[in-house]
């Protein structure tokens, strides 16, 4: 993965686009939706402004949403929103504008709109001069959106309900729940921040941000070419994650299938987000032997305690000379392993986070756990087991939510937006 923030060439692509926006304004009247397409179309006629194929661009419109099996980018900005508008039309309009803005931003363009010298610019501007940075914008809807307010009750899949109380839950209401979630991932933190900032701005008056979290380092790999990153406990995390080329596993454990009671969600997935605090000082005082027993892996290599190489298959049956399990009974990898959970898997895509100091002056940080699955019960099942693992003394779940992420807009007619998808209407 390229962690590039340098603009290739001498002239900023984004400022050129901004200029096009001004030009476009002359010919195209009105709102974000039409304006957005005008800009996009203008781009197609401007060789210098058209991003080259493979130029750090992940298409927003695809069969599945981007940001799920996409090779995991190193930076995250995540936001949960509550819809404050009461008129469904307002929500629809915002979702159309979000579609336009997301399409542009993932192409490395500024948010389209009219530039007027006497008015505020349509884009906040901080990504001008930056590359697209593999930005992905992934949209999810929480259970609470499907209440009586917008006539969406009949569109709620039965699997989409708030998670029950789970072991290690100390959920802070200020970091819990939400009607809508946006996951913005990129190679450049300024690009992911910009995406959330601008979508929030577009949503002003329709939604309010409930909570946000930024992730500064990935804690999983979704692509075979990626090395396994380390979490803040210093251990390689997600070694046995599902990879983007494991189509069978993705169909079996990640993508919503034909058994869903909501046809419009087939090819989508559920997102479970958990803000997991690590008690870093306490962990740092734990002896290395015990740290390795907690995970069931060697810290240096990431190999299971029964292996040499990181990707060696753990031997859960192995015993020491004195009859103890080599990988302890409460080791994280033992309890999480698909072998010990009837094959159950989830697609992990989390990030390390920090929110400064807690009220007692200790570093507040940990894992912002993000995982995709075809039914949130997969997480519930695993977490009920993981509540008993060796990590329990060192972590606490201090926030989180569940959302359903519809399939990509590529499954719909060309002009359909998030609005038509959510409401089931024609473009």
């Amino acid at each position: 993965m390229t962690d590039g923030t340098e603009q290739q060439g001498n002239v900023s692509r984004r400022w050129l686009l901004a200029g096009l926006g001004v030009l476009g304004a002359a010919g195209v009247a009105g709102g974000g939706f039409a304006g957005g397409y005008a800009v996009a179309q203008s781009n197609d006629t401007q060789p210098v402004a058209q991003p080259r194929a493979g130029d750090q661009i992940v298409p927003f419109r695809a069969m599945h949403q981007a940001g799920i099996v996409t090779a995991q980018q190193p930076r995250l900005m995540f936001a949960a929103f509550r819809v404050t508008a009461t008129d469904p039309a307002e929500l629809r309009e915002m979702l159309r504008d979000w579609t336009t803005a997301a399409t542009a931003m993932t192409r490395g363009q500024l948010v389209p709109g009219q530039f007027e010298p006497d008015g505020p610019p349509p884009d906040t501007g901080e990504t001008a001069g930056l590359t697209p940075a593999n930005l992905t914008i992934t949209i999810g809807y929480g259970p609470s959106l499907f209440d009586h307010r917008f006539g969406l009750a009949g569109r709620r899949p039965s699997a989409l309900v708030d998670l029950p109380h789970l072991p290690l839950d100390h959920l802070d209401p200020a970091f819990t729940g939400g009607d809508i979630a946006i996951q913005a991932c990129a190679d450049d933190p300024q690009v992911s921040f910009h995406a959330i900032r601008n979508l929030a701005r577009i949503g002003t008056g329709t939604v309010v941000p409930l909570w946000v979290e930024s992730g500064f380092g990935r804690t999983a790999s979704t692509d075979r070419l990626q090395t396994t990153p380390r979490n803040l406990m210093g251990f390689k995390d997600g070694t046995r994650n599902i990879r983007s080329d494991q189509k069978d596993l993705l169909d079996q454990y990640v993508w919503i299938g034909e058994d869903s009671d909501q046809e419009w969600l087939r090819g989508g997935t559920y997102l479970v987000a958990r803000r997991i605090r690590m008690f870093l000082n306490q962990w740092d005082r734990d002896v290395q032997d015990d740290q390795e027993n907690v995970f069931g892996r060697f810290k240096a290599t990431g190999a299971p305690l029964t292996g040499i190489d990181e990707f060696d298959t753990p031997n859960f049956a192995a015993k020491t000379a004195s009859g103890q399990s080599v990988i302890p009974a409460d080791a994280h990898i033992r309890l999480a392993a698909h072998e010990n959970n009837d094959g159950l898997r989830i697609l992990r895509r989390g990030y390390s986070f920090t929110d400064g100091l807690d009220s007692t002056g200790n570093l507040l940080g940990g894992l912002f756990f993000l995982a995709f699955m075809r039914d949130p019960q997969q997480f519930v099942t695993l977490q009920r087991k993981l509540g008993q693992d060796g990590l329990r003394e060192y972590i606490s779940h201090i926030g989180g939510a569940v959302f359903v992420c519809p399939p990509g807009l590529g499954t719909l007619p060309a002009r359909a937006t998030l609005a038509e998808q959510l409401f089931g209407t024609s473009p």
């Binding site: 109380h165 306490q282 302890p328 002056g361």
Partner: protein, 390 residues
């Protein structure tokens, strides 16, 4: 914190022996005593190596020792050009004594396994000397009488504390059952003191700790909530004793079960040290934050109890540790004194609910932060002890 349901790899035998495995453990004990005896016949304190720095080198004496803890005593009588000795394995430095100008002496201790090592003294005309370790280091703390005594002292202390726990819990339960609210309020904290001192031991039996000391959020279902904190909630938040009998009886039964279990348990020195660190972790994660006693706000007496438990664990190890690493002993003690000093402003007589401390709800966030910082500094040093006594 290190859960004692997990074995410490690299440490001999089963870490904590409960009744069911007592036979196995007894076997291990006698086996390692035997190897300890063999070491002893080797003569004197096992693994003492003398290194005298001279301008020509740093030849260790003896050049071969048995595996186990090795104490390197390094001195410099008159060498101006050489001031340190390092122990190397391959290219890696394992230990060193630096800054020995003529007239000074010092040393370091390490647990060494079978293999070839080098003593390295930069600046000497011969800088490297071979050093051999033979045999296997199965016998470690068991050959150190001071550490063996630490384990028996600690086990006795734990049994004594749990005895007090049963007695004070009985008083608390009696008050609850008799419907005497004010008596229930003042007997709650004193019973907890004994639990908070021995908590890492109680955690060996996972569900027992949960059922005695779990907080509301620790239970999968709110209806499973029981133990001290369930009663705390009813007494201090709901202000009722009706319906408490079941919880009182359950608590007493669990505490008595703990007494039976600790009657059989034994502890290794490194586990005792780990347990001390765990207690400090507890202070930092649940006492300083006020989460532990969220209804009664008697957190400071629990804080003191965790600290007492950690200090007791440290104290039983101290005679041995003083020989192994005296500097660590004094640093830990200094850090402990800083906590004692920081707690003093919050002490009162008789104090809130006779706890000897103020109501923790009156301790503001700046004060909590200051407490957390001294506790953290103590824990950081204390966590270094386990490796020294393993």
């Amino acid at each position: 914190m290190p859960s004692s349901t997990r074995p410490r790899r690299g440490v001999l035998a089963v870490p904590l022996v409960v009744a069911a495995t007592a036979v196995l453990a007894a076997g291990c004990v006698s086996q390692s005593s035997a190897s300890g005896t063999k070491d002893a016949t080797g003569g004197g304190e096992k693994g003492d190596v003398t290194i005298t720095l001279t301008s020509s080198g740093c030849e260790p004496s003896p050049r071969t020792v048995p595996a186990g803890v090795v104490n390197f005593n390094v001195s410099n009588n008159s060498a101006d050009s050489v001031s340190e000795a390092e122990l190397l394995s391959g290219g890696r430095m394992l230990g060193e004594q630096e800054n020995l100008s003529p007239g000074l002496s010092g040393g370091f201790s390490l647990r060494l396994d079978n293999g070839s090592y080098q003593i390295y003294c930069p600046g000497a005309s011969q800088e490297k000397f071979g050093f051999q370790v033979t045999g296997t280091s199965t016998s470690t703390w068991r050959s150190n009488p001071a550490l063996v005594k630490a384990t028996t002292d600690y086990a006795a202390w734990i049994r004594d504390q749990v005895g007090h726990l049963v007695a004070t819990t009985q008083s608390f339960v009696d008050a609850v059952r008799s419907g005497n609210m004010s008596q229930a309020e003042v007997t709650y904290a004193p019973a907890r003191v004994y639990y908070e001192r021995v908590e890492p031991v109680a955690e060996i039996w996972g569900s027992l700790d949960l059922n005695i000391d779990g907080r509301l959020d620790d239970f999968d279902k709110p209806t499973d909530f029981q133990g001290f904190h369930k009663l705390e909630q009813m007494i201090f938040q709901q202000k009722t004793l009706s319906g408490t009998n079941t919880y009182a009886d359950g608590l007493l039964a669990n505490v008595k079960e703990l007494q039976t279990l600790v009657g059989q348990a034994t502890y290794q020195p490194a586990e005792i040290a780990d347990g001390a660190t765990s207690l400090v972790d507890e202070i930092q994660s649940s006492k300083v934050t006020g989460e532990e006693d969220r209804y009664s706000h008697v957190d400071l007496i629990d804080f003191q109890a965790n600290l007492d438990g950690a200090v007791e664990a440290f104290d039983v190890l101290q005679p041995a540790l003083r020989k192994i690493n005296p500097d660590l002993v004094s640093t830990v003690q200094d850090r402990y004194k800083a906590i004692v000093q920081s707690l003093r402003p919050f002490q009162q007589k008789p104090g809130y609910l006779d706890t000897g401390y103020v109501n923790y709800a009156t301790v503001d966030s700046t004060q909590r932060k200051a407490l957390s910082q001294v506790v953290n500094a103590f824990g950081e040093e204390l966590s270094k002890v386990a490796a020294k006594v393993a």
